[in-house]
Symmetry: C2
């Protein structure tokens, strides 16, 4: 019997009752799936980075809520699931959004409908993320049309999202139009999401690519070995400053110096109008062993002091365009982002905001 | 019997006849010495990075010449040694300078004096590099006086030179004057000379330090978490463009954006007036496995295509000052570098060139 509500992503599968997650800590060496049974198991998978990528974390957490609530469809069960999942990682914006939505849906349902409401809301979160990925992919590929060589950082593809992702989804869409596309992939120390995950996705999709160490990007851009840089985002402040994977800011500086467009792609849910500018975004500092070791191999003297900021902030002035499922914002600013966050009609009319359907007149080249 | 001409560096020892090199590929886990017997063995040690750092490569190559010529003190032996060593690595200029000097000394000696002339010249190369390190350390520390937090890349200390090194020698001298000095060390992918070697040297010297991934530097500089950036150099073009370890250029961009001085330190032997500008410097591309693996651990899919430039070029316009044993050049240019390469009197009078003894009026802050 095929379940009613199967939703299959590259790294997450939901059959209407149970969740399976591809353990991304083992990629690319091994493709092993794990099956969290409840909120605690799902929170553990998030905390250990078995599931990662802001949108995918949100989806997994929503299903973790649904499973816990199915087993205990009471207000107490809803609150327990919410408490267990909401703090699994401190900085993932989508996680908070997703579990709030599932809780609110469950608590406003009739007593007999609590479990079904939680499940429906989780599936809606997933469906919306899928749709956002697809729209971002098209809008970004329209924007970058003609680019033959792109440079990216971290993993922003199907392993990070319900659908095809954000920046990497754009590159895969572009590859469908430009089969000769070549992608330079920054390895993304310390956790090597570029080397482990983006390379894995590009190889599966048959996209030409080369891996580089992160510090090689600036020199390669100076030699114009890429036509565009495209990255994801973890949080975008009201003024357009972008918090993203550490290394993003350096790429933006090098892109500007080389005259290469610097494009940020992500769902509108990563826009945070409550934060005025990037200097108000807290930068998470992670553990020293991420830097001191790789796969159990010590890279330095034991006990070496480490600074390990997981993110940095790129000023809006360095961003050529922000690609969201609601449209493309050229040279993002407080005014254009406010316009994007308005309703569809306002967004379409806002200065600097273009709907992807407007097509070629908004290309970067 | 103690040999007449013992010269001992941290990572190289010469007893007048034979050479010992600390195998830097094994640091910091293991301190093992290797003993190349001839030019080919020395070239292999250079190629595999057992010996590294532009000045130390030059010294090792000079001794490799001397050993080969001692075994075959003929013009043919001299030429064979020269050919074997001169192309062991392409980017650093010191290697070529050193083997040219030993060859010229040997070929202009009387037939019975060929071996002795080669040995003397190699020892002179070593002695001059020792003296240059000491002078660079003092001149650079004068320049940076007052800096409490410095950021550096790669290894430019006693492991890279005959004496105490270049950029790291400056920091150790500065630490003698400012015991609270703290050094941010970029790990320096792919071969991790920062994590393996610079951390090892700083720990031995009791200097406070923290290790960072290379891509974290730009964001930390934007937050003014360092007062200065100081790096070494592998080749400086006539116009002041600097070829150095990959990642240098990105640091220079981030330093300029943050208003932090960007200082390059190296012996005058790294100046190459035969190269007009940085775009004429050959950038060595090294093997893919340096990027694909760390310590035998695979970081990505087997067979992944890699771009692995070992160096990049920083335009002179981004360099606040060049520190050499002949003096400090502020805002290096073709004119000021030509002045530095003139004789002592001309260099002292050259525009923009200051002798380190002039002291505090030339500080960057």
């Amino acid at each position: 019997v095929v379940p009613e509500r199967v939703r299959q992503s590259v790294a997450l599968s939901w059959d209407g009752r149970s969740l399976r997650l591809l353990d991304q800590t083992l990629l690319p060496a091994e493709e092993r799936w794990i099956e969290p049974r409840d909120a605690a198991g799902t929170a553990a998978a998030i905390r250990t980075l078995s599931v990662r990528g802001a949108p995918l974390i949100g989806i997994a957490a929503a299903y973790g809520m649904a499973m816990e609530i199915a087993a205990d469809p009471t207000p107490q069960g809803v609150e327990r699931a919410w408490r267990t999942l909401r703090t699994a990682r401190p900085t993932a914006v989508n996680l908070g959004h997703a579990v709030d939505r599932v809780r609110d849906a469950a608590l406003t349902a009739a007593p007999d409908d609590i479990a079904a409401a939680a499940r429906s809301e989780a599936e809606a979160v997933h469906a919306e993320e899928d749709a956002a990925s697809a729209a971002i992919a098209v809008a970004g590929a329209d924007l970058l049309e003609g680019a033959r060589r792109a440079l990216t950082l971290c993993n922003t593809g199907a392993l990070a999202a319900g659908g095809s992702g954000s920046a990497l989804a754009v590159l895969l869409e572009l590859h469908g139009r430009e089969p000769d596309l070549e992608v330079l992939v920054c390895e993304t120390r310390p956790l090597l999401q570029g080397a482990r995950l983006t390379v894995w996705e590009l190889a599966r999709a048959g996209v030409r690519h080369s891996l580089i160490v992160d510090s090689a990007a600036a020199g390669l851009l100076a030699r114009r070995e890429a036509d565009a840089v495209i990255v994801g985002c973890d949080r975008v402040a009201a003024n357009g400053d972008v918090a993203n994977k550490v290394g993003t800011y350096g790429l933006a500086l090098a892109a500007r110096e080389a005259g290469v467009p610097f494009v940020v792609a992500g769902p509108a849910s990563t826009l945070d109008p409550s934060v005025a500018s990037g200097d108000q975004i807290a930068i998470e500092e992670r553990g020293a062993d991420e830097v001191r070791t790789v796969g159990g191999t010590a890279l330095t003297l034991a006990g070496t002091s480490v600074r390990n900021p997981a993110f940095d902030v790129t000023p809006a002035a360095l961003v050529s365009a922000l690609v969201t499922e609601r449209g493309v914002v050229h040279a993002p600013s407080a005014a254009t982002l406010a316009s994007l966050l308005g309703d569809g009609r306002r967004s379409e009319g806002g200065a600097g905001v273009s709907r992807s359907s407007q097509g070629s007149e908004d290309r970067l080249r």
